[in-house]
Assembly symmetry: C2
Homo-oligomer: 224 residues x 2
DNA sequence: TCAAAAGTGTTAGCGTTACACCCATGG
DNA sequence: CCATGGGTGTAACGCTAACACTTTTGA
């Protein structure tokens, strides 16, 4: 691969995807372990080169699936990283995506080139290959920002959730506790969720109302 | 160029820059006229291929300068457009930038390949080549959005300006009139401008106070 | 019966908006 | 002196933030 890239007169492109999930009160991302020098045993965000016959977005989905087994998750373009020396194998520009899943227990797989894969707390990351630390930081800060003016948070929750799960998602990402009553008032005022005729069961406390998002996709929604 | 691109197994990259300025109560962008089929006589945003030895941002600055003569303007990455068929000459992905200048009277030049160049009201654009209409729309909506949570507006004003010029910039881009007293209160509360010991002269009405931005660059600033 | 989380309203303070008159200058 | 835009304050309203007790369940 490196020979192919080096001989190009112009830059070629890759995609890298930061996949987020909530777990255990933490915001986590999915990383794979590198084998290749000079990054042996360093972790990286899954990615790969964009082929001549696929769109950038398709490429991001394909490489995420090939490297991790993950498919059918929400994805959104993040930023394009284009420094000259970001990749020691050649002149590669990376179009970074962020992806969100409600399901940290989804099946993930390793590959021949990446024998380990795992979820890492964004507040406690290992050393990352390439400029992936910068990519991850950009993704985390974009995600926080989008919490405030979109309904993107629902991409991190199951179809059905409780007000408390929703509130906890905000608390984890914003890093601060919120008031239960005020939180519920705002969410209801924004008209983003429906309360279902359904309660949680099996917990040693009062059952909670089950809710669902009113809209399928991600939309802008001043203001939380 | 098309032959070079076609033989690549992977996608190559270009940058395109939407340069904004305010003029005559309108938000305008700088366009150049194409000669090449199938875009003969269509207008386009200035851009060009990213070389193997330059960063993406440097490439955007270089191509803007080469195609229009414009240099030393504020630039910021916008979005990356990666559909397969966006360029009939080959598999080219475009990293779009937006640029802002306070000075619509700056010198601009044509080139061998682009014999015409000019400023166009974003509300009255000609037919654009490639997917440049999409790029321009993305740029306009990003600019509007950033007005609300950054001090980016100062990149469209001279170093020294009056409160009225500042307010007019907001009014043009937001497309609505604002209240003079409330506007001034907000701006002062945000502590974004200094009033200078200086007045405008030569106008057939009371002189206005001259102001300047407190910060050099673009920063986030909840909320206008 | 105990522990744990769910559900639920009111009040005070702050920020936002609406609004009108006099002033300084050039022509 | 006239036309033009510049400069300035207050009051009502709405939104936000602070705050605590009762309910329901499983163990």
């Amino acid at each position: 691969m490196s020979n192919i890239i080096k001989k190009y007169e112009y830059a070629v492109m890759a995609t890298d995807t930061v996949l987020f999930a909530l777990d255990d009160g933490k915001l986590k991302i999915l990383l794979i372990k590198m084998n290749k020098k000079p990054f042996v045993d360093m972790w990286a965000v899954p990615g790969g080169l964009v082929r001549g016959d696929e769109s950038v977005e398709v490429s991001a989905k394909r490489t995420l699936k090939e490297k991790t087994g993950v498919a059918n998750v929400f994805m959104e373009q993040l930023y394009t990283f284009g420094n000259v020396n970001r990749d020691p194998f050649g002149r590669v520009v990376s179009i970074a995506y962020m992806a969100l899943t409600p399901n940290i227990d989804m099946e993930i797989k390793t590959t021949k080139d990446h024998k380990e894969i795992g979820w890492f707390d964004v507040k406690d990351l290992p050393v990352l290959a390439y400029d992936h630390e910068k990519i991850v930081k950009t993704a985390v800060s974009r995600l926080s920002a989008k919490l405030e003016y979109t309904n993107i948070v629902f991409q991190l929750l199951s179809k059905e959730f409780t007000m408390n799960e929703l509130q906890t998602a905000y608390e984890i990402i914003r890093g601060e506790k919120l008031d239960k009553r005020n939180f519920q008032k705002k969410i209801l005022a924004l008209d983003l969720v429906k309360k279902l005729d359904k309660k949680t069961t099996g917990q040693a406390h009062r059952p909670a109302n089950v809710c669902t998002a009113k809209h399928e996709g991600v939309v802008n929604v001043e203001i939380l």
